[in-house]
Symmetry: C2
Subunit: 338 residues, 2 copies
């Protein structure tokens, strides 16, 4: 039975010996989280379907083969959902279809993974793991076009693509299950996350991964249009800290929180920064593909005051250092990620 950490226990200590389940654990954020949990002494189970086009990469857990219980299984199978939860203390719910363009091309799969599976998970929690602590991951994308003003959690939800619809439904299932059944769930709304183990083969997970690939393969970094949109970014290590600190705090239960970055940057400047750090590369401006233009959100800057106030989380890794480390990682691991 899990308890909130008492006054003499840090959240890091709270995870020692705890059983933690990560959906999407072979993916970018999930695998970084698994590594940190193992280091904290948690018993980690990951579940991942390793779907083509997803962030799953078997090398993401290299070296942890004997320390993580890995299930290759699809959450669209209800029996998997029930079985995976039994005996777990904490669920980090990271499995998702995150591609915006992909959601427009295959909206049925997008809805199945981001809403139907999430419903199955909260219902299964109610039945077989009613005390489990759940940290769900959502996205700032469903705020839609925010005009770039700092966006807090009270901003209207106005998704511009099908992915925003399904991700919002998945978040709401968690929040309703909290209200009605007392599910101990929190939702974190992530912004652009980057760092080691992100998908670099293409831009399906993040444009940053694609840019890393272009740098390493001496191809130009494609910038759609003028690239003047402002975005905020989080290093994956800061996101992992947010996931852990949220799980260990009962003050966050039943709420949704933005994450966010401290150093907003225009996309074209970000490309320039990466080129500078890599010591090579160039930018190619290309017209916005129509399908992307129609779902483009423009400037975005997340206001993360709520989580900072509640549990003291804030991003700590500066963009320059974070990108430098990311490039170094992929330089040495290129055969596994390109």
């Amino acid at each position: 039975m899990q308890r909130a950490p008492d006054a003499n226990m840090t959240w890091a200590e709270w995870f020692h010996g705890r059983r933690a389940l990560i959906t999407g654990g072979l993916g970018f954020i999930g695998s970084n989280l698994a590594r940190r949990l193992v280091a904290l002494g948690a018993q980690v189970r990951i579940v991942d379907a390793a779907l083509p086009g997803s962030g799953a990469n078997p090398h993401n857990l290299d070296g942890l083969e004997h320390q993580v219980e890995a299930w290759r299984a699809d959450l669209r199978n209800g029996e998997v959902v029930t079985a995976m939860l039994i005996g777990q203390d904490v669920l980090f719910n990271l499995a998702a279809q995150v591609g915006h363009l992909a959601s427009m091309e295959d909206p049925v799969t997008d809805l199945a993974i981001n809403a139907s599976c999430q419903l199955a998970i909260v219902e299964a929690c109610r039945r077989v793991a009613p005390e489990i602590r759940v940290v769900h991951t959502a996205t700032r994308q469903f705020y839609g076009r925010t005009s770039g003003e700092p966006t807090d959690e009270t901003h209207p939800i106005a998704p511009v693509d099908y992915n925003g619809v399904s991700k919002r439904a998945g978040e709401l299932y968690h929040l309703v299950a909290h209200q009605v059944y007392g599910l101990r769930a929190t939702s974190l709304r992530l912004t652009n996350t980057y760092g080691p183990r992100m998908r670099c083969r293409d831009g399906r997970q993040t444009f940053l991964g694609e840019w890393v690939r272009c740098l390493l393969k001496d191809e130009p970094l494609l910038v759609y249009g003028d690239g003047m949109q402002v975005r905020d970014l989080n290093h994956v290590d800061d996101v992992v800290t947010a996931l852990l600190a949220t799980a260990a705090s009962s003050d966050t239960i039943g709420q949704a929180y933005n994450l966010g970055g401290r150093e907003p940057i225009r996309l074209v400047d970000l490309a320039g920064l990466m080129i500078g750090l890599a010591g090579r590369g160039r930018i190619a401006h290309v017209p916005f593909p129509g399908a992307r233009r129609r779902i483009e959100i423009g400037d975005y800057l997340g206001d993360y005051t709520r989580i900072a106030t509640t549990i003291g989380w804030q991003p700590t890794i500066d963009l320059r250092a974070g990108l430098r480390g990311t490039l170094d990682f992929f330089e040495t691991q290129r055969e596994h990620y390109l």
Copy 2:
């Protein structure tokens, strides 16, 4: 090819000869809409799966057997969705799982009908009927607990049950498809609707139907708790007018609108009014069943200024007259509805 009515054409005239499709057309609102459309000279096709527990009642279309093309078919079948749309000018999208308690008991079906089917519909419109005019019906329920202040369309969406999650997703699919593909869709957020042809066998569709049944069967009208919650009500004829006027106005495309009533009333007073009009009956206060209490929204009063300003709709049927006519209808038709 449909056009907005010109300055010399009323919206009623606009429907003459037009091909109108109604999903859920055997149900309460759908059948009343079908009747009005036939009277306006439209060519009406209805599609209804007549699922057990739904509002479908074959007697709802009594007398129209030769004037309405009726398909008994399930929207969860993608081929039905595509086929039904071909050649249609207007879609009134009324098929839904509307039960709040039912959504908690069978959330998978609720999601399938209210979100997955709606996604299939907007995607099929894009492919086979890109010019079709769509009026989707949503619910004020997804505003959640509003504290009874007049609630307009900018109120945060905070559903208290799974039905609110799925209905919101269904609405958002329409609005996103408008933004991305130009789907000519409008969403109306209905409040409590009452009138002839509502489901009276039980409270699955509306508590008002159940109260009518109790009156006609000389059973007490059950009021949960003190019944002091304020609600607004719309007579189905006013709702049908809103659906038609919305479809005929291109000014409403891409928007969502509240309907709402002019005479907010406490539930216990509503029960008393119905007893007075019927000249018989009694109230029995009973404790709130736990499952209902957990999803109860409290006071609600919809602000319908936006639709009033845009197309001039407002409710016209006063509650007393509307209830009187409703009771008369079910008195004479009791063998078909009880």
